[in-house]
Symmetry: C2
Subunit: 432 residues, 2 copies
């Protein structure tokens, strides 16, 4: 399939601030084959899309989340973290069946596609169902089975992880890739992390882990091991592998130096960190060190949506406010975090920018909106003013998945119905 | 005109968390005449609107802004505050003509109506044009001419203010009310504020002022007068009048006690305060004192939109994050701030809740959206997950102004064209 996107404004995210106008973008198969000035084309296209008064932006790459937790959206809010986990989230998660995870993930993918996310990262369980949902919908996905080393599932988790990676790595023409997902330092003691590292040596996929999300976690690890969570992972040897660390809210200067030294990628989740009262990550300091920082939504239970535009805006706003400095985390940096840097963070080298040879994962925004007029600066518009409702088309891997507000590959009515029914059943105690 | 809204979920905002389901709302003329269980009606209605799977929420009340600054949306971002003001904003504002303010305000009203705002507050100049725009569009407005006491416009501002209040107070069946708008303690010295107070004694309208927006302002007032900005206004006598104070980012405990003692209302502007690096207002402490705190967007030049849903979300999120406490500013409190409390803050006693006898200013949200499924908690959904694109109908003063995404009373294409042309002309130096 060949598609010409004609006469667009393009935020390439090649270099933070590059904005093309009146540009053409050509997609051949899965890839972008041309980005540049509009011109007369002496070749055939399967489809030509008029992009006048529209803006092309790389699809958002959601670098951290738990998709099926959409079923617990707005189920428990404004309560202390341990109450939230122990009294509300974990009891319901213990009742989840594989079909629940499938439909919760379908709901998440539907929401993400419609809000301009073309790649998502997941760490959960019943991962075959997550992968099936991603395969069916056409979205790009980087998936890992969550591993906890301190309960009866410790061994089974490793077995299922190996199985999952062997089954799914590179499937759907490379649209689905996998990682290993040890949950966190406080749920995966060093001895268990060593077993994860042995498995990684066999499978050669990257690792993702939650890290230094709360002050409690930092205090707990320090009192248990005498070192900070990043020091513990360094000492264990995990950081010798390719690692994505989610959250990283509470880091010392030494911790940040460790992340830089070992090229650990960070997934910043501003919405979830704010909502759970975890704190505000030191993103300007991470960026100043040249550390790769991507953006994620975390699960919908602690957000309560999967809208990356909101995360982009929060990432550009909260550090300015908390540091009383309007120059930190510019619009261009925030946009790069949500696209190019997120892709780097989850080890996808050919995703996240609009450039020749890159995967054709892109989103078209309609600029003919009151909140996007006048047009002094399109990058600032996207970061500070755009809405998911401005999206007119979403493409993943060269394939149009959303057009005119409709998800092309999905039965929206069925997904909403299934998700609603299953969620109510779950929170009512799972009784038939 | 009588309208029956049948079978809705209703967030009444009578009491923070009241949610009715399967409820009917009746509008007769400008007012709500019934809110309660759905029932058989033995009377005629001019119109019946089916609200199944829809949610009725009081229209947002934007408690602080400068509407026509939409023309400078995304014109200057991520730069230090004084550079922003002196090098970018003020030079362009000096070139504004009355037609620019008219079209900039029309653009703002269009954006606000489509994102569920039914009342806006304004402090700017060429206020006749602002009032005309509000009158034409059907939105509710509380308007004040901005007053600066330290330049050649000091006297003329007072004269224009008196004229404006006498012309417009209570116009359009009460839809338009007025205030006096001394800009800030640092631009209105006590002697000038005394003249504002004399004018207020003649006109009996409330006063709005920017207060303690930045640390620089606090330091400046302290070095000039030896007291904090709230102490200065108290000493000047201004706080004996009904006063709305915008921003209030940097307050001591004593300052907050003063605001409580004098029943000063506060307009919290989280988006603008973050974006300009002003800081994070002590909202939980204000709420704990029982001070009335409303929500505002400030101008689009420092936001960069007029979407109150974003302010609601920021108000509910940033205090949790900066205080590391997920229980502060609950979803219900944030929603109340944007509606009932904002209305109180701008002295509109019959606006801001869905209740019998109140003005029929309401918004209908379509719940049939992936990001609003499942429906465990509709207040949390509105605050943490809803999007402007979910709005299916907006009513002000009993009149439908937005339906199916279209502004009924406005020529959208003309507004976007005029605003775009005038903005480009302005920033190009105003040359013909």
């Amino acid at each position: 399939m060949s598609i010409l996107l004609r006469g667009a404004a393009v935020l390439t995210v090649n270099g933070d601030f590059e904005v093309l106008t009146g540009a053409d973008v050509v997609v051949d198969g899965q890839n972008i084959s041309y980005v540049g000035p509009g011109k007369e084309w002496h070749r055939e296209f399967d489809r030509i899309i008029d992009c006048s008064n529209k803006m092309i932006v790389p699809g958002f790459v959601n670098a951290h989340g738990h998709a099926a937790m959409t079923l617990l959206r707005s189920y428990a809010d404004d309560v202390p973290l341990m109450f939230w986990l122990e009294k509300r989230i974990w009891p319901v998660e213990a009742r989840l069946k594989r079909e629940d995870v499938y439909w919760g993930t379908m709901l998440a993918i539907l929401e993400m596609l419609k809000s301009g996310t073309t790649t998502f990262t997941d760490m959960y369980f019943f991962m075959d169902q997550v992968a099936e949902a991603a395969e069916e919908c056409g979205i790009r996905a980087v998936l890992s089975r969550g591993l906890v080393g301190v309960d009866h599932m410790a061994d089974r988790g490793l077995e299922e992880s190996e199985q999952f990676v062997r089954n799914w790595q590179g499937r759907s023409q490379g649209r689905i890739t996998t990682m290993l997902g040890p949950h966190a330092p406080y749920t995966c003691p060093p001895a268990y992390l060593k077993r994860v590292m042995e498995l990684q040596a066999k499978l050669s996929v990257p690792v993702q882990i939650h890290l230094s999300e709360t002050l409690d976690e930092v205090h707990h690890i320090k009192s248990e091991y005498g070192v900070s969570p990043p020091e513990l992972l360094k000492d264990t040897g995990l950081f010798a592998l390719p690692v994505l660390a989610a959250h990283c809210v509470h880091l010392s200067d030494d911790d940040m130096d460790i992340l830089r030294e070992y090229n650990v990628r960070v997934a910043h989740n501003p919405g979830s960190n704010l909502k759970l009262g975890s704190g505000i990550a030191p993103v300007p300091d991470l960026l100043a060190r040249g550390i790769t920082v991507g953006l994620g939504t975390d699960g919908a239970a602690s957000n309560n949506n999967l809208d990356m535009l909101e995360e982009v805006r929060l990432a550009a706003l909260i550090h300015k406010g908390s540091r009383m400095d309007p120059t930190v985390v510019t619009a261009g940096q925030a946009l790069a975090m949500a696209t190019r840097e997120s892709a780097k963070a989850i080890f996808l080298p050919d995703v996240g920018t609009i450039a020749e040879g890159m995967k054709a994962d892109l989103v078209l925004y309609d600029l003919n909106r009151p909140h996007l007029v006048p047009q002094h600066d399109l990058a600032a518009h996207l970061v500070y003013a755009a809405q998911p409702g401005d999206i007119s088309l979403v493409m993943v891997d060269g394939r149009v998945l959303v057009e005119n507000g409709q998800a092309v590959t999905l039965d929206e009515e069925k997904i909403l119905f299934q998700a609603q029914q299953r969620a109510l059943h779950l929170v009512s105690g799972g009784k038939e």
